[in-house]
């Protein structure tokens, strides 16, 4: 009886030991690993950088480690899930992340340094990391990390809506700011939507630049106000319009009734008024 009790306490003690050490070990391992989020396609940020670096370590991902979960990352993740017998869903959930963390190493310091220096680099396993980056920062491609548009987490690429480049967005933001900076937000989205409706329309030029710079089309272009530096709001309005929001109700024209000089514009069928602008067909 006494012996049994001793045995029992021994087992309990061992169990207790195991119970306390295991989570410690696990905690240690995942200390600088992923946050809790499920990472899905389209996401940006530090978790994506880690995901790409780890997938590259294992040889699944050959693209650039840029912190944007695009198609390349998506296929790499699915191949990883396939090889490791996980559900192939293209989502980095807790199960996938655990497998990934235990199968690969992630040299966060190295990756972050390379990104901050704007180098092109790789993070393959089995090769010395020092051979996977330029010998020393040549200083030629200095990238101050979150240079453009307040990007979070030092990513080096950005998502842009399909069919448009960052420069296209910038130029449209210029036009929207020049034309409608005093207007409410939806008024700005509507002006951007009118530009896009014109691109689609058969009676106007077929490119965004053609529409913006068409002679006498926009007053802000004719008097040079288009060259004012636009704010974030104008940019966001442009992205909304490109992504399919059209508060103008499919309008092709708009005008400010207080300042409009052409009597012709009053003959257009009016759809609605937003802020100071009347939008018409």
């Amino acid at each position: 009886m006494m012996k049994q009790l001793l045995m029992f306490t021994k087992v309990m003690l061992i169990l207790l030991l195991i119970a306390t050490t295991i989570p410690m070990a696990e905690l240690d391992k995942s200390a600088n690993a992923f946050s809790n989020q499920v990472i899905r396609q389209g996401a940006i940020g530090d978790d994506v950088i880690e995901l790409q670096a780890r997938l590259q370590y294992l040889g699944f991902y050959n693209g650039k480690i840029d912190g944007v979960f695009g198609w390349g990352t998506y296929w790499a993740l699915r191949n990883f899930q396939y090889e490791f017998g996980l559900d192939i869903d293209g989502l980095a959930g807790s199960g996938t992340k655990e497998k990934l963390v235990s199968a690969s190493n992630y040299d966060k310091q190295y990756v972050k340094n390379q990104i901050n220096q704007g180098n092109s680099f790789t993070h393959y396993g089995g090769t010395d990391l020092s051979q996977q980056a330029p010998a020393n920062n040549s200083g030629s491609n200095q990238n101050d990390g979150n240079a453009s548009s307040g990007n979070s987490g030092g990513t080096t690429s950005a998502n842009v809506p399909s069919g448009f480049s960052e420069n296209d967005i910038q130029m449209m933001a210029n036009a929207v700011y020049g034309e409608a900076r005093g207007e409410p937000y939806i008024g700005q989205v509507a002006v951007a939507a009118v530009i896009l409706n014109r691109v689609e329309s058969a009676s106007f030029p077929d490119t965004v630049y053609g529409v913006i710079f068409e002679p006498r089309a926009f007053t802000a272009v004719a008097d040079g106000q288009i060259w004012l530096t636009p704010n974030e709001t104008a940019r966001e309005a442009v992205i909304d319009a490109i992504n399919g929001w059209d508060p103008s109700g499919d309008a092709l024209y708009y005008f400010n009734p207080d300042t409009a000089t052409s009597p012709w514009i009053w003959t257009r069928p009016q759809i609605k008024k937003i802020g100071q602008h009347i939008f018409c067909k």
Partner: protein, 449 residues
């Protein structure tokens, strides 16, 4: 007396000169701005066309059928000649545009010859395919160079007229950043997508259908407000204003604006008169810090759709822009994706609030469809695809083809090199209805020079 006359005459003269001078100055400025705008248009259009060109060539690489290759090549040829004319309108012959012009001439010649040839009898040879690949790479290089210069032009507010004036006055010391830019910029970048907005976008012609499928009776202004409050999930004390659509609109709607008295946040939405469905909704507020993941935001978008009885929708695309998540949903019937019925949603990544909702395409085209049985088997359709493409995924989908008809297609997603393509094969006759190169992330251009 004489003095008085003299003074009057002189002062009239001085004022006259001043007025004349001012007018001249204004005219000169107006003309300068005009000329500048022309240069800007030519330059930006050129970069845009090179973008498009790069993608179109990329798509032709993934094409298989002759019937889609010929029109695609003709399209390449058309864009080439446009780009050529834009290069010609730029003011500076001394700029290193030689490379661009050479490239345009090459691709123009290639695409013209291939497009007019009967590709059924005389298909592209392996060498030709390789030279097309070479041109694709070259297009990527030129695209990235031009993008970088464009970024500089926009960012630093550079004026072509300044360069021109500097050259005209032979002033070497003037700021020639544009010229320098063209000479220094040399970087490698990935491409990006085409003008084609993808299958979930409905083209203008199709848009004129005016909500023929909507059910329900006409609603009143008052009902519009209560519907609006429901969709905006706004508190009861919100202040609402309603306006009816103008006479120029093709369809009836109410524009509702909701403003909560405490915060100065405004939600605007348009609601159809028939049935009271939300066409679009926008809540304008800034989002400072990301606190939830894109996946959490996705869940909150799904919940919104479920709560508001938008059913049988499938997530098609999720994209994060700074602190916003944008999601595209398309409807699904009998396990077939219906791309014309699309809903877009914008979710704040700080608390998961729905900041935007756009269902115009969905409301205009959603109805119960009679989906035919696919005539071709999946394997047969698969054989129609360019063998270079590595197919990763497939499904059945209804898309709008070039002639704006809804067709049932096999959708294959596959990779070719670094790029991912989506290819639609008509399930009835095996026609290659659409080949799309999917968007890659765009590198953030540094402030070079």
């Amino acid at each position: 007396m004489l003095k008085g006359i003299l003074i009057t005459v002189l002062s009239v003269g001085v004022i006259g000169t001043a007025v004349w001078g001012y007018q001249e100055h204004r005219e000169k400025n107006a003309i300068l701005i005009n000329a500048e705008n022309n240069y800007q248009r030519a330059f930006h259009e050129l970069t845009y066309e090179i973008d498009v060109l790069h993608d179109k060539i990329g798509s032709t690489l993934a094409m298989n059928s002759r019937s889609s290759l010929s029109p695609a090549l003709a399209d390449v040829w058309r864009i080439t000649s446009q780009a050529h004319s834009d290069v010609g309108q730029l003011p500076l012959s001394l700029l290193p545009f030689n490379k661009t012009e050479e490239f345009l001439a090459q691709i123009g010649e290639f695409s013209y010859k291939a497009a007019i040839r009967d590709l059924d009898k005389d298909p592209l040879t392996d060498e030709e395919y390789q030279s097309l690949q070479g041109l694709y790479k070259q297009a990527a290089d030129i695209q990235s160079e031009l993008r970088n210069v464009q970024h500089m032009v926009v960012k630093n507010d550079l004026r072509w007229m300044d360069v021109e004036t500097a050259l005209a006055t032979n002033n070497e010391a003037a700021d020639n950043t544009i010229i320098d830019g063209f000479q220094t910029v040399e970087k490698t970048v990935e491409g990006y997508d085409e003008t084609d907005l993808g299958p979930a976008f409905v083209s203008m012609q199709k848009k004129d259908e005016n909500y023929q499928y909507l059910e329900g009776k006409e609603i009143s202004k008052k009902e519009a407000v209560s519907e609006a409050k429901k969709y905006a999930q706004s508190p009861d004390d919100v202040k609402a204003t309603v306006a009816e659509n103008g006479e120029g609109s093709d369809y009836g709607f109410f524009s509702v604006s909701l403003r909560s008295p405490k915060e100065s946040i405004e939600t605007n939405l348009d609601i159809t008169k028939k049935g009271g469905y939300p066409i679009w909704l926008i809540t304008a507020r800034g989002v400072k810090q990301q606190k939830i993941s894109l996946e959490d935001a996705h869940q909150s978008a799904v919940k919104f759709l479920r709560d508001n009885e938008f059913e049988d929708l499938d997530l098609f695309e999720s994209v994060q822009y700074d602190q916003m998540g944008v999601f595209t949903f398309v409807s699904k019937q009998d396990d077939v994706r219906i791309y014309p019925d699309s809903i877009k949603m914008k979710v704040a990544l700080d608390n998961g609030q729905i900041l935007g909702f756009s269902a115009e395409d969905y409301l205009k085209s959603h109805h119960k469809r009679d989906i035919p049985q696919a005539v071709l088997a999946k394997e047969e359709a698969r054989e129609k695809i360019n063998s270079q493409l590595k197919i990763m995924d497939d499904r059945l989908a209804i898309i709008l083809n070039d002639s704006n008809e809804e067709v049932l297609c096999y959708e294959f997603t596959g990779t070719l090199g670094e790029d991912t393509y989506r290819i639609y094969i008509n399930s009835e006759n095996g026609r290659e209805e659409k080949v799309e190169k999917l968007q890659n992330a765009e590198p953030i251009y540094e402030d070079v020079v």
